[in-house]
């Protein structure tokens, strides 16, 4: 949400952001208004915003803010079309319709370019959690999720597309049996800003031993310690472009 506003050149009109908003750098100095699951209603009201833009959430934030007399707009950023829609709507709401149109057209163009550039489809897994230094406690991206959609656009077919939940807990047996061509891995540290180099060493070291996996033998294990893969915003296209290179490339 914050990223869309900054991309539309509205950075100076952003009164407050959530705890998790770290991009662009200017956003970090804005007043904090709590997090996705624990919004701070008092802090939001104190900023006297003209309108509060929120992501669809399970804590009835919209209704609670409206009850306080605030104007609220709720957006679904869990899909690529949802993000594009939000850009148009926010553009209209803020009188930046032209910039929003240009931003959206640019993003759609890049999405199309990614789609057309897919020459080879590979079977992929994306792990969103794992115990450090061990192949235990793994959680994968399942069906109908934002990351699955992005990978599909870039030529990656999720090997856990048939899982019963959006983020299934899996074991090494499942990985050995499904033997994906590409492993993307995002540790918990992406949220804490762990140094990229140290993270790479952890990931490559721990997977290096599993030579039974095609992705390891063909050097297609990718540590992704960057927030473009977790923040739903205009940079999703950047994430798709990176996926494309990693999926169709010759390996690390």
């Amino acid at each position: 949400m914050t990223e869309i506003l900054f991309a539309l050149g509205l950075g100076d009109r952003v009164a407050g952001v959530s705890e998790y908003c770290r991009y662009p750098a200017e956003a970090r100095s804005k007043p904090k208004t709590g997090s996705f699951l624990q919004p701070n209603l008092e802090a939001i009201a104190a900023l006297r915003p003209d309108v509060v833009l929120i992501i669809r959430n399970p804590v009835r934030l919209g209704a609670r803010l409206e009850a306080m007399g605030l104007r609220v707009r709720e957006f679904d950023l869990e899909t690529m079309p949802g993000i594009l829609e939000a850009i148009t709507e926010i553009g209209g709401l803020t009188g930046r319709g032209r910039q929003a149109g240009a931003l959206r057209a640019g993003l759609e163009g890049r999405m199309e370019a990614v789609r057309r550039a897919v020459k080879i489809r590979r079977r992929v897994v994306f792990l969103v959690g794992r115990t450090p230094q061990r192949l235990e406690g793994m959680v994968a991206v399942g069906p109908k999720s934002y990351l699955e959609e992005l990978m599909k656009l870039a030529g990656g077919d999720n090997v856990f597309a048939d899982a019963p939940s959006m983020y299934p807990k899996i074991s090494i047996e499942q990985l050995l049996a499904r033997d994906p061509d590409v492993i993307f891995e995002m540790g918990d540290s992406v949220h804490d800003g762990m140094e990229q180099k140290r993270y790479r060493e952890d990931v490559l070291g721990v997977w290096g031993r599993m030579t039974g996996l095609r992705a390891v033998r063909e050097k297609r294990v990718f540590p992704l310690n960057e927030d473009i893969f977790v923040v739903p915003g205009p940079r999703f296209v950047e994430a798709a472009e990176r996926f494309l290179v990693m999926i169709s490339g010759a390996g690390r």
Binding site: P168, K169, S171, E173, Q174
Partner: protein
Amino acid sequence: MKRFVVVMGVSLAVTAMALVLCPLVGPTAMDWRQVGVAGSMEHQIFWLARLPRVLLALLAGGALAMAGVLFQAMMRDALATPDTLGVSSGASLGAVLAISLGWADAGRMGGLWVASLSGAGAVLLLVVALASAGRRLSSFTLLLAGITINSMCVALMLFLQSVTTLGRSLAITRWLMGGVDAVEYRTLGFLALLILPAAAVLIWRAGDWNLLAVGQEWARAKGLDTGARLRLGYAAGSVLAGAVTAITGPIGFAGLIVPHALRMLIGPDHRLLLPASFLLGGAFLAVCDAIGRTVFAPAELPVGVITALLGGPFFLWVLASRATIKG
């Protein structure tokens, strides 16, 4: 003696069957002729995924069941288990503290283990302090004390989770889901080094627990150094419950069903009860985990869900049947 041979023979046979059969169960269809072929998928799944899991379940289930028998003897109450007394929560709180402070960030287990054992030990001391001082606590009081300790530990865990970084709070969430995962053989080795000596000492002095289960005065009158035995009990109980919890996360009710069923089947003799609980408690957890990794494949059901679904109703049934006897 004949009874001992029969009970131990059956227990060993059941556990051996679990060890042989459980690795055969899983979500992947396997060509078993390939298991011996190095480098094949079957070889890797069997040696890296299935066997360590079953071994962990045997060790963890055995330790938790044995801790259950031990606590029942120490508290002289058939409802005492690592869960009901709050010992598992104490261990969990220790582990969550370690994760939230970043001791587990680099994947080292040492800090996690120490914190978990300390948490289990602290709660056990607290409960025993409540239950000692010459009076015997009623089941009712003991369970209420356990509930209180559980609630306090949960509150503190939520607090830690809310103040730590987002990444660590996700790690805590995953740890709390609990479960038996395919751990490294090194981890299994360390766990065995902690659990097996504790179990061996308890079995070796099993006769003493028969005296203590009757009452401390009685045991003292029989010439037993009750203080030393109880201290051994705290230490062994903390190791059994704490070491397992550090690896698997909380697994509810694992220390309940097997000790109870065995008491009904073979009676209260700890010389039989302790070793048989260790063997059959392990087999029980291995079977529960085999179910957990299969029913919702490719996703896994944490083994704690299965043990709770079996153990919860069982516990209520025990409570209800006791109420009718007393009422």
